[in-house]
Amino acid sequence: MPDAPTCDEPRAARRRPRWRTAVPAALGLSVLTGFGAAATSAAWTDDAYFSTAASAAEIDLRGSSDGATWSPADTAGTAVTLAPVTGLTPDRPVERTVHLWNASTVPLTLAWGTANPTTLLQGCVTVTYSSLPTAALAGSPSSPSGAAVTTATVTFTVPAGADAATCSGQSLGAIDVVVQGRTS
C-alpha cells in the first residue's frame, strides 16, 4: 500500500501546473462543441435539388480599321492594319482610329495596353491615346450593334521643338498598339 502524502512533502510537488489542466480541458470542450454543432446542424437541414443549363462565357473583343470588316486581331501578327502615317511634321498631328466590337457574351471593360509606346524615333514622335469608355462595353456576339461598338484613337505628333536635323525624314514600321478587354 503506497504511502499517503505527508504534510512534509513540498506543496509544489503535489500540485499539477494549471495549464496542463486547462489546455486539455479547452480541447475537449472544443471537440464537444464541434460535435454538438454538427449534430444540431444535421437535425435542422433538408435538401432541395434543382437543375439549370450552364454555359461558359465567351470572351471575344474584335477590331477593325473601318468599322465594317472585323477580325479577332489577337496577336501582333494578326493585327488590324491602320492607314500609314506619312509626312508627319511638327505642325500637323495625325490620328488613326481603331474600331472595337465586344463580340463576347459578357460585358468588357476596355483599357489601352500597358506596353503601348508613348514616344517613337528617339522622341521625334509622341503617341497619345484617347480616353476609353469607363463603363463596360456591352456584349453582342451576333452582330456589331451600337452598344457593343466603340472607337479608340491614337494620335501621332512631332513635338514643336523637334530637331529637324535629327528627326526630319525618319520613318518606322510595324508600330503595335493594344486595346485590352477585361471582364469585370
Binding site: T78, T86, L100, L121, A164, Q170, L172, T183
Partner: protein, 186 residues
C-alpha cells in the same frame, strides 16, 4: 521559479496559436483573390510612321490659317525674289537697308484668315555689306510676327493684302535694333 516557467510555456503556446491563425487568414485571403481573376482578350492594331522633311528655319513661303498652322485648303505661295532697294550707309553698327520680298500667292483666302508666313536668309543678299552686324540687327515694316532670333534668317508674316495676289512686301533692316523692330504682333 516553477510557476514562472509554466507561465512562459503558456505564453509560447498562445503565440504559436496566434501565428497559425494569422497564416490561415492570409492563405484564405490569397485564395479568394486568385479566384476573382478576370478574363481578358486583346485587340492589336498596327501602323507605320514616316516623318516629313522640314528645317528648323525652313526657307520659303507657307500659307497659314487663323491658328498659325499650315493650312490644309491647298493654297500655296512662293517667294519670287528678295532684293535690296536702298542702303543707308554709316558707321558699322548704324547702317540700315530697305528690302523688298516679292511673293506669289495661289488660292489664298485672306478673308478666311489665311496669311503668308515668309522665311528668308538675308545673308545670301550680295548687296548687303559683308561685315553687317547680325547679332544686334532688327527689322520692321509691312510685316508682323517678326522673328529675329535666327538672323540672318528672318521669319515674318505678311499683311493680309499680300495674299490677294502677287505683291511686294517692303521692310527695313537695321544693323542696331530700333523701337518697333522684331515685334511679334501680327
Amino acid at each position: 521559479m516553477t510557476r514562472n516557467l509554466t507561465r512562459a510555456r503558456a505564453a509560447v503556446a498562445m503565440l504559436v496559436v496566434a501565428v497559425l491563425v494569422a497564416a490561415g487568414a492570409r492563405l484564405a485571403t490569397d485564395a479568394t483573390a486568385r479566384t476573382s481573376a478576370a478574363w481578358t482578350d486583346d485587340v492589336h492594331a498596327t501602323t507605320s510612321v514616316s516623318l516629313g522633311t522640314w528645317a528648323s528655319h525652313a526657307l520659303g513661303c507657307v500659307v497659314i490659317d487663323r491658328a498659325g498652322a499650315e493650312t490644309s485648303s491647298g493654297a500655296t505661295c512662293e517667294i519670287a525674289s528678295v532684293s535690296v532697294d536702298r542702303i543707308q550707309w554709316g558707321e558699322v553698327g548704324h547702317r540700315a537697308a530697305n528690302l523688298i520680298v516679292a511673293l506669289v500667292p495661289r488660292g489664298v483666302s485672306p478673308g478666311a484668315g489665311e496669311r503668308l508666313r515668309v522665311t528668308v536668309d538675308l545673308s545670301t543678299l550680295g548687296e548687303l555689306p559683308a561685315d553687317w552686324r547680325w547679332s544686334t540687327a532688327g527689322a520692321s515694316g509691312e510685316i508682323g510676327a517678326v522673328d529675329c532670333s535666327a538672323l540672318p534668317v528672318l521669319t515674318f508674316q505678311a499683311r493680309d493684302w499680300a495674299g490677294w495676289g502677287p505683291s511686294s512686301v517692303p521692310f527695313q533692316l537695321h544693323e542696331t535694333r530700333e523701337p518697333g523692330d522684331c515685334s511679334m504682333q501680327v
